[in-house]
């Protein structure tokens, strides 16, 4: 029988414990669910985020790299053109001189001086001008040095110019420690050959090259075929020293080659290099990789930060949401289960009620006959005694005792069947408005005398704002009296006839419902029994003292009024029963 109710009461009274227990049972199921929700909630946005960032990063880097490289290339190309043009123009100037004057004119110092001054008007880069015969004898010279008459027949440059017709030297430091280079051209006429040579100040293309600035570290410089600096390098590298870094050179006349190389110090540079057309000099533009791709590194850091923060946000959010979803689902499942259980229990209880009323009713008929027979026997005994046919004897006394015991037991049976019939009664209560502020004191007054007799202090704590309820006053009275009687029994078993306290109270709850409580300081109910107290036929009272139906009847009555009963109890401290009922909702004027 207990299984019918204990579960129900566990759920209503100790609902949270039961739910937790149920969670424990279903844990693997929820864990799997949790895992799959969490996985998809993290993976989908995270993969999307990473893909977006990854693609963005890739395209950003590509375009940045290509634009950076293009800039460097353009600078190399522009400057090569300018230097080439400078060299070509100087060569053309000298070529013009060579072709405009006869050898005899050129050997005339005055004419040569005139030519030099005209050349210097053309370009301030011309420092001097010299004329050589085919043997390499410096036959005429105009310029700051005393070079006339010297024999250059064995010099490599003279051999080269005689052979190829044109020569441009590498840069060298002249006597005044100023960087120069020379251009020499040969002319042949009527089996005679001569050469003019001019020293060119490099400051003009030094300016061109050395003034190149890209970002913080971008610079340009010239190297000759052997890797000797032909211009100063801003980041270190003096004129005519060897470039400590050997860069990968493009093939001659093959355009621009870009590369990224690391120097001995571990610094990476982006290089763009190209050979000049007019001279085997390598024009190099380089920029520290860190500088060239600075935006790229910044972007990388920002992206990494976004990925980290975004990832953390996604994971955090997923965790929070998943927990919330799971908790909600667990709650809903528990709710569903509880509802299902309640329906089953309710229908079982209804069946039980019907069955037991049937039994009780049928048992009442034989009880009635037994009662009649017992009365009859008593009457007959009296008659026999009156007639003197039965003399008083111990046997007769025993017989009479047995008879009274039968009467007692029939009455006991009758009590049980009546309690069952009350419990299983099918009729619906007659609802009407019940003003608790008047009703509770009335009912309490009924037990006042009993409380006084047992030395129980009876007090009432009824709030002035306690609303009326809608219910069957008779049934509500039955419930209250039942609770009072139970409370007084509990008090008596703990305190005897001194020190008992019984408080009845009522008030408005936060949710607009009415709570009526009956609190005692009696012996309390242990947790095990608390689960069973509303079950039919559960009683802790001695045999014959209680049917175990009182509280289950109360439970049914309050349930029909749309409320519920709760119990809170602690052994040897006391018990509080709380009845919660919906407040009356009819219009206020109606009494």
């Amino acid at each position: 029988m207990e299984f019918l109710s204990w579960h129900k009461h566990c759920v209503t009274l100790l609902g949270d414990d039961i739910r937790q227990e149920r969670f424990f049972v279903d844990k693997p199921k929820y864990q799997n669910l949790r895992r799959s929700i969490l996985t998809s909630m993290i993976l989908i946005p995270l993969v999307t985020l990473i893909l977006i960032l990854g693609f963005g990063y890739y395209f950003f880097i590509s375009s940045l790299q290509s634009s950076t490289i293009a800039t460097v290339k353009r600078i190399v190309s522009d400057h090569r053109h300018m230097i080439d043009a400078f060299l070509m123009n100087r060569k053309a100037n000298l070529d013009f001189v060579l072709n405009s004057y006869r050898y005899d004119d050129l050997t005339d110092p005055e004419i040569l001086a005139g030519i030099l001054s005209r050349l210097q008007k053309e370009s301030s880069a011309f420092v001097d001008l010299g004329v050589f015969d085919s043997q390499g004898i410096h036959v005429n010279y105009q310029g700051p040095y005393k070079l006339a008459g010297k024999d250059y027949g064995g010099s490599p440059w003279f051999k080269e110019v005689m052979q190829k017709g044109t020569y441009i030297s590498d840069v060298f430091l002249g006597f005044r420690r100023i960087p120069h280079f020379v251009i020499a051209l040969k002319r042949e006429k009527d089996g005679k050959a001569w050469v003019i040579r001019s020293t060119i100040d490099t400051h003009i293309f030094n300016d061109l090259v050395e003034k190149v600035r890209i970002g913080k570290t971008g610079e340009a410089y010239l190297l000759n075929a052997d890797g000797i600096f032909q211009t100063e390098r801003r980041s270190g590298g003096n004129l005519l020293e060897r470039d400590p870094e050997s860069i990968s050179k493009p093939a001659l006349h093959s355009g621009i080659k870009t590369s990224i190389q690391e120097n001995a110090k571990g610094e990476s540079y982006l290089y763009a290099a190209t050979w000049l057309r007019e001279k085997n000099w390598l024009l190099v533009v380089r920029q520290a990789k860190e500088d060239a791709f600075k935006a790229l590194y910044t972007a990388s850091y920002v992206l990494a930060l976004i990925t980290l923060l975004g990832g953390a946000a996604i994971i955090g959010l997923a965790l929070v949401l998943t927990n919330r979803i799971i908790r909600r689902m667990e709650w809903m499942d528990a709710e569903k289960e509880e509802l299902g259980g309640q329906l089953i229990r309710a229908s079982r209880l209804a069946e039980l009620g019907e069955m037991s009323t049937g039994f009780a009713h049928e048992i009442n008929n034989p009880l009635q006959i037994m009662k009649s027979e017992e009365t009859m026997m008593n009457v007959l005994l009296e008659e026999l005694k009156e007639k003197g046919e039965l003399k008083s004897s111990p046997t007769l006394t025993e017989l009479e005792d047995s008879m009274s015991q039968i009467d007692l037991q029939i009455n006991r049976c009758a009590q049980i069947t009546q309690a069952i019939l009350k419990f299983g009664r099918q009729g619906d209560p007659v609802f009407q408005k019940v003003n608790l502020q008047e009703f509770i004191p009335e009912v309490t007054a009924m037990v006042k005398k009993k409380a006084d007799v047992h030395g129980i202090l009876l007090s009432q704590e009824i709030d002035g704002n306690t609303p009326a309820i809608e219910g069957d006053p008779g049934q509500l009275q039955q419930v209250l009296l039942n609770l009072y009687n139970n409370a007084m029994d509990a008090i008596l078993s703990r305190h005897g006839v001194e020190g008992g306290k019984l408080v009845v109270g009522a008030g408005l709850r936060g949710d607009g419902k009415v709570a009526i409580f009956v609190r005692d300081n009696g012996s309390g109910i242990n947790p095990e029994n608390q689960k069973k107290i509303f079950s039919p036929f559960f009683t802790t009272k001695p045999v014959g003292k209680g049917t175990g139906l009182g509280l289950s009847v109360c439970y049914g009555i309050i349930g029909k009024m749309g409320g519920f009963i709760e119990v809170k109890s602690e052994t040897d401290t006391g018990t509080t029963f709380t009845i919660v009922l919906p407040s009356f909702e009819g219009d206020g004027s109606d009494d």
Binding site: V379, C413, L421
Partner: protein, 149 residues
Amino acid sequence: MEPMKIMLVDDEERFLSTTKKLLLKKGLEVLTAASGPEALELLRTHNIHVVILDVKMPGMDGMETLKAIKHTYPLVEVIMLTGHATVESAIDGLKSGAMDYLMKPADMEDLIGKAEEAFEKRQRIEERIRMAQMRKTMKSPREILKEEV
């Protein structure tokens, strides 16, 4: 004054016989009927003052029998004997004209007590009827009805 004539109606044979003996010993006149129709038949042939009527009987049940009795013999007082301790069935009985109800298993003293109350009531009513008839001041439909009884 004539003694109370009481009729027990119940489908339990043994209850009828034992209770009859008991009531006879108390000096009452007792008739018994095991069913509703039998009770109505006895009422037709006997002047019965009080009927103790079981609510639950096979065939014609207590409530039907009660209605039939009150319809035909309004002066007969009926006490319902119910095995069902609900207020509702008692109220239904009282609404249909029963004077009182007893819950099974009922004490014999209670039974006799209630029967005597019912008999007294019946006698008071008959007394008033007699007085009214004697005065002949006015004839109400009810009195005409009672004359026909």
